[in-house]
Symmetry: C2
Subunit: 361 residues, 2 copies
């Protein structure tokens, strides 16, 4: 497999030309990693027609030269003065920067450092736009992450019982992920029991699990930098009819949205399919968020799968499909898989069962 | 104990007056939490002479009203247009914003949203400045976090043996923290074995621990939002004389710096004390970072305890003291405690032994 990084940088340079900037200082670390391979916590990548160069600090001396396929510059002090020197040396007159990622102070400081002859150009989402379509090796990395995540869920499931706190369940999940080789969770694991499952973004608390409760788990692993994302809802003890009805409704909505996933499908149409099935049951008003999002080096990437018309699906996109309903007092149900847009349709990467699982109490 | 939040906001308003802005839009979440109590992931706090108001989204409807002592506004769409409306309604002509935290795009968008009559004022570190001195209840929260962290270390220590990977040790530590009730680690737990301990910011890898190795563990918990921070180095099997000499030298440096901690002491003097003892042994050139930093709602807060003259210690500051020496090829030793500046001197909050512990192999 050829190294994808030179090709990625070439495509970025094409985009930059359209933005009338021949060069870019890339600061957002997932973008730096995508373009250069560097995984450290401090680094700016300068991409110009003459090549790419990573500016970092002495902590990453060895690591940077091992990871990057481009030249590296280890800066004893701050990296910006060194980067500005290089920009001037190359005689560049315009430099793109991620104006949505760089702080206002950093922007002003960079402009001052570069001086009058170099114009800073606001650039937003350029690299993120490239990242939306995953390469074969990226898809393979996500696949491994999804598989590990499902395995960690399966292992943790065997430990869950009434009396444990939400935080303890989350600890068990994260522990399993890392024992299986993940760097860690891709986001703060959500474990929400009973009525708290109605809060779509609940952080785990010290509340104890009880019999006859819903338990919502939203978890993802980071493995070799790539994310996975899955939500499952289980019941402690046999679920009452109401919970089962809601579960079936959400599952039907999820399957309806998945069925719409194929190249050329509008993202909004994928969202609408699930929402429509919930409407038939009068539940659409409890579905208070979007259907899904892309993921990769970050847990939230493009495209957004929501109500707004935001483009169409293309082969190589990896997205979540995660409808949910949230009833105050009763609880919430969400079912989420990570899926791949293939050349012809969809592949659900998540293999964990979507049966309504019962934890013995 | 009186609710500290109104007092904090009053002090912020005093600072704002010095900056010729009567109001501030606080966006940095630890600052929002400090001033209002809100712990959600999306919220902007508007602080004006007329009071404070939190702007957030419908996910945090219930949570915001439970957590905040000020008024809240739930915005169906983006929060900024609503906030701008309120700013205009109050007839404000200048609004401070955290220019070091807000992206350049957000800054420009806010300026456009607010319109000509309202001038945006760059404000940096105002709330962070207040946060440097901890209240009695904050000190108590940090104390609990430090205690939990030490307990998690103790529990994990019993599990460490050759053949485990660094990631597995980190997983064990994080698991123990959370079983003990922490939200999780306050930063990515550092576990570095053998030669890797010479990298001050090593991320744990899948490398296995072996007998006759150094093992450096740098860990901190987040409990009720407050951080702890501790580093210990242990040895797998009996340490050779060289490791013991280095350990003793670092411990001596750490104790020398701690002995300097008292109200009125210059931060640079605390740093110098440890550095001086290392110099006597020719080791100061291997001490490649600062002596410490404040901590609280964030793991890195003011003051910085380094070589540069950056102010003096005051009662209520909570800082780390963490000298280290790093020898390429051999390994690194760092010893770190969390300490409190009291009215009369210093209290070391970390109770974990600083003996050079040996893991049986």
């Amino acid at each position: 497999m050829p190294d994808p990084r030179p090709e990625r940088r070439a495509r970025l340079l094409d985009l930059l030309e359209q933005h009338k900037a021949g060069a870019m200082a890339v600061t957002h670390l997932p973008n730096v990693r995508y373009l250069s391979g560097f995984t450290g916590s401090n680094g700016v990548l300068l991409v110009t027609q003459r090549g790419a160069r990573l500016f970092t600090d002495p902590r990453y001396d060895i690591q940077a030269s091992q990871e990057c396929d481009c030249s590296t510059k280890i800066c004893a002090g701050p990296v910006w003065p060194e980067l500005a020197k290089e920009v001037r040396r190359q005689g560049l007159t315009a430099l793109a920067m991620e104006s949505d990622k760089v702080s206002h102070d950093q922007w002003l400081a960079s402009a001052a450092e570069l001086g009058k002859p170099v114009r800073l150009k606001r650039a937003k989402g350029l690299v993120e736009g490239l990242r939306v379509i995953k390469s074969a090796s990226e898809i393979e990395a996500i696949r491994r992450s999804v598989r590990l995540n499902s395995k960690a869920f399966q292992q943790a499931l065997g430990k869950i019982r009434p009396g444990m706190t939400e935080i303890q369940v989350a600890a068990e999940i994260d522990y399993r992920m890392r024992r299986l080789g993940a760097e860690g969770p891709a986001f703060e694991t959500i474990v929400a029991a009973g009525g708290r499952s109605a809060l779509p973004h609940a952080r785990p608390t010290n509340q104890q699990l009880k019999a006859n409760q819903l338990l919502l788990v939203d978890m993802g692993a980071s493995l070799d930098g790539y994310c996975s994302d899955m939500t499952r809802v289980v019941h402690l003890g046999p679920p009452p009819a109401r919970a089962r009805q809601l579960y079936d409704a959400v599952l039907e909505a999820q399957l309806a949205s998945i069925a719409e996933v194929k190249p050329g499908a509008a993202c909004a149409q994928v969202d609408a399919a699930g929402r429509r099935t919930l409407r038939k049951r009068g539940l659409d008003k409890f579905f208070t968020h979007s259907t899904g999002h892309g993921l990769g080096l970050e847990i939230h990437e493009g495209p957004r799968i929501g109500r707004k018309p935001e483009g169409v699906l293309r082969p190589g996109m990896v997205i979540t499909i995660e409808p949910g309903v949230y009833l105050r007092g009763f609880g919430g149900i969400r079912i989420e898989d990570t899926v791949l847009v293939t050349e012809t349709g969809v592949e659900v990467l998540t293999s964990t069962t979507k049966e309504f699982l019962v934890i013995p109490t």
